[in-house]
Symmetry: C2
């Protein structure tokens, strides 16, 4: 496994959560591949195919989110360098705040990146809720 | 995209659901890669890493399942031939029977296969429950 590719993919994975926390459609625009074959499965949602549908889903999520924080644990990377594909699986420990009401949920995510002109762009995101979630404390001290 | 690879991956994907319907650990043994890096996320479960943990999960599921039927719709394949990796995303329209009690659920699954010595072996399965599921009738007529 190329050490550089590994570092770059983990960086792209971190940028994805940075974009999510920032509720930034511009950052999502920048890190997803703009292609009709990209796929996104938000927890509980129907299958979304193609960047236009996925972009719209982020708009909806961002418009309906006040504050969201991620603590990403146990990222596991599998890299298929010849194919220019990297698969990251990680646990999203999520804390949301809405009108002072805090909620904590756990999601297991698969994030897949494709190397496109020396950048690793997201081509797949799937999140699955964990039923019996034991949340860590991710509030700022 | 190689037409043969596409056909073979869809065949492997169908075999996975055939193994699941057959509650057959032998068939699962045959189609998964026996490797410590394979990953499985059953709906609501914690992350499972490595074939031994995944094999045990299938044993538990099969021991607690009486009848399960799958109607697989909209399989979408992305093939990275140089890397020997294929990603299938599909909707699992599931009907279970337990003591005559039928239940229907919808799951979106990502199934990833790696070419190993000219066979496509499963290296990743993630299933996510769909919240608002409109079930097709998949009972035998």
């Amino acid at each position: 496994m190329g050490k550089n590719s590994l570092t770059e993919i983990l960086k792209s994975n971190a940028q994805f959560y940075h974009a999510f926390e920032g509720l930034s459609i511009d950052m999502m625009d920048n890190l997803w591949k703009h292609d009709e074959n990209v796929i996104c499965v938000h927890p509980g949602w129907e299958l979304l195919i193609g960047w236009l549908a996925i972009r719209e889903s982020w708009n909806i999520i961002f418009q309906n989110t006040e504050v969201i924080k991620f603590n990403i644990t146990n990222p596991k990377v599998r890299l298929f360098d010849n194919g220019g594909v990297g698969i990251v699986v990680c646990q999203e420990n999520i804390e949301t705040s809405d009108d002072g009401q805090k909620d904590r949920i756990g999601v297991i995510a698969t994030n897949i990146f494709e190397r496109c002109a020396n950048r690793w762009l997201m081509i797949h995101h799937q999140g699955s809720l964990i039923s019996n979630y034991m949340p860590p404390n991710i509030s700022p001290q």
